[in-house]
């Protein structure tokens, strides 16, 4: 099985598509927020790979072509942003306040939990950029002397948490405005959250795309200021 995967240009790709398809199907059938297509796909693939003893590298030799499109897809987020540009200008104050409180609360809460669990400086700066998009977070973690691979892990987990639990949180805390939902998803859980925001609607998607950019850039500036607190 390892050999088939290693020599194939399609197996990992197709496995990912099928796993995602299963995710979409289960979500439609079961209507629970927790049955999120991305989450189900990940579980299905991990289960499949460990059952057939396939190494990650062999799976990724073809699955990597999916991830290749992440950069042009992120560039394309400018399109919904452009379509909603007048909305953006009209609500500039709410956008700035929302994203800034998100970025600051991210820094402060990571600091608080690091204190609580007695994390070392290295562990603390590893977690500090966890809410921003992967490539920015990797850069910040590296610059502050964090463990980059664990930063990437927490960024992905953060994204999935935001994607899966956003609707429950919005309901519990009575967040109803599409603009606020979009800002919240993008600031807390970057591009993975944004793919959820796109499902909710065009306004949510545009605001979430904007938040990836603004919160990412703000974190580049603010994270170094917080890095020496532990």
């Amino acid at each position: 099985m390892n050999q088939i995967f290693a020599n194939s240009t399609a197996f990992g790709f197709v496995l990912t598509l099928i796993a995602y398809g299963i995710g979409v199907y289960l979500k439609k059938k079961l209507h629970y927020q927790i049955f999120n297509p991305i989450l189900i796909a990940i579980v299905v693939i991990i289960g499949f790979l460990s059952f057939f003893n396939v190494d990650y590298e062999n799976y990724n030799s073809s699955a990597q072509y999916i991830s290749y499109f992440l950069t042009p897809a992120t560039v394309s987020l400018a399109i919904p942003l452009y379509r909603q540009i007048s909305l953006l200008k009209r609500n500039l104050k709410a956008i700035i306040v929302g994203i800034l409180s998100g970025v600051l609360s991210s820094m402060v809460s990571v600091w608080g939990f690091s204190k609580l669990f007695g994390f070392t400086h290295i562990e603390y700066v590893t977690l500090l950029p966890k809410s921003v998009t992967t490539a920015i977070g990797m850069g910040i973690s590296e610059e502050l002397g964090g463990l980059v691979s664990i930063t990437v892990a927490t960024i992905i987990i953060t994204g999935i948490i935001g994607n899966v639990f956003s609707n429950i949180l919005f309901k519990c805390f009575n967040i109803v405005e599409p603009i606020a939902k979009g800002l919240s998803l993008g600031t807390a859980s970057h591009a993975i959250g944004t793919s959820k925001a796109m499902e909710l609607g065009e306004i949510e998607g545009a605001m979430s795309s904007l938040s990836i950019v603004v919160s990412g850039l703000l974190t580049v500036i603010i994270a170094p200021l917080f890095s020496n607190l532990i």
Partner: protein, 123 residues
């Protein structure tokens, strides 16, 4: 032809983003430069929305798929994570919830406040 042109524009902008990343030594990825460049090109009408829209929407539509291989990779990091996974998971959950609520609530507060202060003018 339509899709070739659109894909060409998006990938060219991605390339410009990569060039910028090469010369500017900041932890900012090529995709963010590209996003800003495409937005500026659209706003200045140099690129028309119809020149990128179909391919761009397709890419955004399949975006959730693109995170899956990276997430599956987490299984290979288990050796590094196993000593501290529980505090890290708790921190990750809690801080993500805190950021979502802080962002959403503060934005909504401003939106409601602005609406209220605008109301007398409407009536």
């Amino acid at each position: 032809m339509k899709y070739i042109k659109q894909f060409g524009i998006i990938l060219s902008i991605t390339c410009i983003g990569e060039i910028l990343k090469y010369f500017i030594h900041l932890p900012i990825p090529a995709s963010i430069y590209g996003l800003i460049i495409l937005l500026l090109l659209l706003m200045t009408n140099i690129v028309k929305i119809d020149d990128v829209q179909d391919t761009g929407n397709f890419l955004i539509n399949i975006m959730p798929l693109m995170f899956i291989p990276g997430a599956v990779k987490l299984t290979t990091l288990w050796d590094q994570l196993k000593s501290i996974w529980l505090p890290i998971i708790i921190t990750t959950f809690a801080t993500t919830f805190i950021v979502m609520i802080a962002t959403g609530k503060s934005a909504e507060l401003i939106l409601k406040w602005e609406r209220k202060s605008n109301e007398p003018n409407i009536r």
